[in-house]
């Protein structure tokens, strides 16, 4: 990973809500925890020494339970919330040093946001909603109309241009929210629990729309969620927050294979391991061909099991996307990989 891959760099970020936040900051830096701080200073610790590197053109998921500070973190990136202390670099520019005018410019051109409760403008039509980010840049109406229409079409809402948000279903409203965020052509997309308010089927549909779009657009996306399945489905990297502190920030496979602490293992204990763990995470590295069939290294265990069941004794050969052999998997590896780590209970589920 070269330095140029990193688009957003968050350094030593602290956020403390309440009066006397400077005094509280010193206490927190001295190691005081969230509960003690609330008791002593009547301040709420929002973010505690967050360091995060966000890679260009990737989807960075930030995960945590409610109250863990993930929505607070994402709002720091476009300064909807001002930090108590710390540094946020976007393209090597410190966004905390921006004046109000520069900040407005920055928000118009560099970042756009999708919200959990959609936050559409109820008095504007779908077309006006999608074109909002462009209209406030004083782009001529004919131009923003055209660009907005393109994005409405892209999210599959053709024919709904003149509808008001109140006339659309939740899923459709969030498509409008997505189109509105994409319409400004900003490089960075902030998504604050964007799909959490949708029912499972629609949510999965929206995730697919997002992944499709990402394949084409290569945005840098910061995606907040509390749903691990969602995080694993769309995340290129996953950061886990707890009580305002970063617990783990790594490759999704690593989160499952090597959870940093009990909190993370708790998080991952209910997932279907066979469906998310990929071959490369459990293979034995080797560069010689094995007796069994050849599979890609990002194939999930469930699919490998299907292939291996035909001739269980032959280990499969693993190759990377370029066709180079990188390892092998035997049946025993497969069983070991699907098993939950020992410390997390031994109940066998159906």
């Amino acid at each position: 990973m070269s330095k140029n891959d990193i688009l957003i760099k968050v350094n030593q970020l602290y956020k403390i809500f309440g009066d006397n936040s400077n005094e509280a900051l010193n206490l927190v830096k001295g190691g005081m925890g969230k509960d003690e701080l609330l008791e002593k200073c009547n301040c709420v610790l929002g973010l505690n020494k967050i360091n995060l590197d966000i890679r260009k053109a990737k989807i960075q998921v930030v995960m945590g339970l409610s109250g863990s500070g993930k929505s607070t973190l994402i709002r720091h990136l476009n300064r909807l919330i001002e930090p108590t202390s710390g540094e946020i670099l976007v393209n090597d520019q410190d966004i905390l040093s921006l004046s109000q005018k520069e900040l407005i410019q920055f928000r118009q051109n560099n970042m756009s946001m999708v919200f959990q409760k959609f936050a559409l403008f109820p008095h504007k039509t779908v077309l006006q909603n999608v074109g909002y980010g462009l209209a406030i840049q004083n782009i001529p109406m004919s131009e923003w109309n055209e660009r907005a229409k393109k994005w409405i079409n892209r999210v599959g809402l053709d024919g709904y241009e003149t509808y008001y948000p109140g006339q659309l279903s939740g899923g459709m409203q969030q498509r409008v929210g997505l189109a509105r965020a994409l319409a400004t052509d900003a490089e960075i997309l902030l998504m604050d629990e964007a799909f959490s308010a949708l029912d499972p089927l629609i949510r999965s549909e929206m995730q697919n729309i997002l992944l499709d779009l990402q394949n084409e657009l290569h945005k840098t996306i910061i995606f907040i969620t509390h749903d691990l399945d969602e995080a694993l489905k769309i995340g290129d990297r996953i950061a886990i927050l707890r009580d305002g502190t970063m617990v783990q920030d790594s490759d999704p496979q690593k989160i499952i294979m090597q959870p940093a602490d009990d909190y993370v293992s708790d998080f991952i204990k209910d997932i279907n391991r066979a469906r998310v763990i990929q071959a490369k995470s459990i293979m034995t590295p080797t560069n010689s061909k094995s007796t069994g069939p050849v599979v890609q290294e990002n194939m999930v265990l469930e699919d490998i099991l299907q292939i291996m069941s035909e001739s269980p004794s032959k280990p499969v050969t693993i190759e990377d996307t370029k066709g180079k052999i990188t390892g092998k998997i035997e049946m025993a590896n497969l069983i070991e990989g699907m098993k939950r780590p020992k410390s997390q209970g031994t109940n066998i589920t159906g």
Binding site: N78, L80, L103, I104, Q105, F106, R107, Q108, N109, M111, S112, M113, F115, K117, A119, L120, F121, P122, H123, Y132, G133, I136, Q137, Y164, G166, Q167, S169, R180, T184, L190
Partner: protein, 295 residues
């Protein structure tokens, strides 16, 4: 124990001196600045006079037609339209046309004045908690102080006439529009404002693109209340020289003319109902997007 049963009040002489000095100060103020202040309000007077003349001199069928167009534009309702037509025909038939036109003129000018002062004031209040803390008590005073009390300084300053009447009406009628503008803007969904912020909207773009449109139904309820309160002041305003439906009512009170009082009083009520229905229907139409096909 005398102080226990009789309130220890100021000496009678001191009290009289105190009142006198307040009176003299204000009289001095009136003498030195009265003419300037009157000059300041001169354009307003011209506007009001022109408006009144326009209403009285235009042939009545044209006026009724105009009112019907206004009612239709506001309410889009046949029943309101028919009601308006019958009411104005009846008012005219009972010989109250000219007074009604005068009242209409002062109400419209007062409403216009209240809106053009009240809405910016409400916006300022919504923007700053300090301004809100300052203005709210003033509004409370304006709404609760007996109107006769502020008639005194107004008349001392400007004498008897249309302008002091107009000012008295405005003092009484402006609080609802200020309050409801403030409230309407403050009630706008924070999520929506955050969205607007995240796309880089500046203060004015947020105000006119998001806050005002979403607050409009509430603001309109304020306009409606302002009109109603202005109408309620018509009789009191007539005491300081405003022509219109209030004057006959005043005459009826002092001479115990039941029919005269009742007729003119009812004409005021009819005006109030028409204004109310039209503006309310208009306000409802403005928020139609809110309840359309939500699941």
């Amino acid at each position: 124990m005398d102080w226990f049963f009789n309130f220890p009040s100021m000496e009678r002489n001191d009290l009289r001196e105190f009142k006198k000095s307040v009176d003299f100060t204000f009289t001095d103020f009136t003498r030195s600045y009265g003419a300037d202040i009157e000059g300041f309000f001169e354009p307003l007077l011209m506007f009001l006079v022109w408006f009144e003349k326009f209403f009285i001199n235009t042939p009545w069928p044209l006026i009724i037609l105009m009112i019907l167009v206004f009612a239709w534009f506001g309410s889009r309702s046949i029943s309101v339209l028919v009601g308006t037509l019958i009411s104005f025909l009846t008012i005219g038939y009972f010989g109250m046309w000219e007074d009604t036109m005068s009242t209409l003129a002062i109400i419209l000018v007062a409403t216009f004045l209240c809106i053009s002062i009240g809405i910016p004031m409400g916006i300022a209040m919504a923007r700053s908690n300090k301004i809100q803390a300052l203005v709210v008590p003033i509004l409370d005073i304006m709404q609760t102080i007996p109107s006769f009390v502020y008639l005194i300084p107004v008349v001392m300053l400007l004498g008897i006439g249309k302008v002091p009447g107009l000012i008295a009406v405005c003092i009484y009628a402006i609080p609802p529009i200020v309050r409801l503008t403030n409230l309407g803007i403050r009630l706008v969904d924070k999520d929506v404002l955050e969205a607007s912020d995240s796309f880089g909207a500046n203060y004015w773009q947020k105000l006119f693109g998001v806050q005002m449109p979403l607050a409009l139904p509430t603001i309109f309820a304020g306009v409606n209340q302002t009109i109603m309160m202005a109408l309620a002041m018509v009789v009191i305003a007539s005491m300081i020289g405003v022509k219109g439906l209030g004057l006959p009512v005043l005459r009826a009170i002092s001479n115990q003319y039941l029919a005269l009082g009742l007729m003119n009083g009812l004409a005021i009520v009819v005006l109030a109902i028409i204004f109310d229905r039209v503006t309310q229907k208009f306000g409802l139409r403005m928020q139609k997007y809110r309840n359309d096909g939500k699941d």
